[in-house]
């Protein structure tokens, strides 16, 4: 769980649930026949289940292998095409309040990191960004709202967050849908 949270954070926010199959260890993997008893680890396997709960794909690249992302994307499209029912349009994450704004600055690794998280979390439309290195009015606004000109900063109705890790954690917690 803590390892998962740290990993998710190190990937600058992920927009999908990272699940712990750990108590008892590998139980779900085992129920799918994907737990490797001899090694005490789970196989690097991919299972696709359609919205009716029917297994549509099972494959493994072995623990030391690497999944092919293009293949997985093609697989998703195939399952989508082959599905006869209709699914509700996926709801865009909407947990970030409408007035929120992200302040960043140029040539800043922390700013870059929160911008990557914003992309990963599909927040490009929901969360406006201003660059205080390029926009004097934005810098003025940041000073006004945060009391200092430290960027990155996330200003929401609930207050100001000024550490990149805390900003990313806030974005993840408010936008990862289930």
């Amino acid at each position: 769980m803590f390892s998962h949270a740290n990993w998710a954070r190190s990937m600058d926010g992920i927009s999908f649930p990272l699940l712990a199959d750990f108590h008892p260890k590998g139980a779900v993997a085992a129920s799918c026949g994907l737990y490797l008893e001899d090694n005490g680890i789970t196989d690097r396997a991919t299972v696709v289940i359609d919205a009716e709960g029917v297994v549509r794909h099972v494959s493994s690249v072995t623990p030391s292998g690497k999944r092919d992302m293009a293949e997985l994307a093609a697989l998703c499209e195939e399952v989508d095409r082959g599905y006869s029912g209709s699914l509700p349009a996926s709801a865009a994450p909407s947990g970030i309040d409408a007035g929120a704004k992200l302040f960043v600055k140029s040539a800043c690794g922390f700013s870059r990191s929160v911008l990557i998280a914003r992309d990963n979390l599909h927040l490009s439309d929901a969360l406006p960004v201003v660059n205080v290195s390029e926009d004097a009015r934005a810098l003025e606004e940041l000073r006004e709202r945060a009391g200092k000109d430290q960027a990155p900063a996330l200003v929401t109705g609930e207050g100001v967050i000024q550490e990149s890790a805390d900003i990313i954690a806030y974005m993840v917690e408010h936008t990862v849908p289930l």
Binding site: W7, C32, I49, G53, Y83, S90
Partner: protein, 44 residues
């Protein structure tokens, strides 16, 4: 081994934010891709 065409067994696990996630909650809403992997911080 889970076989193509069979019903997937339901499960409930905690996610990285401590929330309970069940396969059943996606029924009728979304397809689900499970990416099993041996260890955190390893490639996809």
């Amino acid at each position: 081994m889970t076989a193509v065409g069979e019903k997937a067994p339901d499960f409930t696990l905690s996610d990285h934010l401590g929330r309970k996630v069940s396969l059943a909650q996606f029924r009728g809403k979304k397809h689900v891709m499970l990416l099993f992997y041996p260890l955190d911080f390893t490639p996809t």
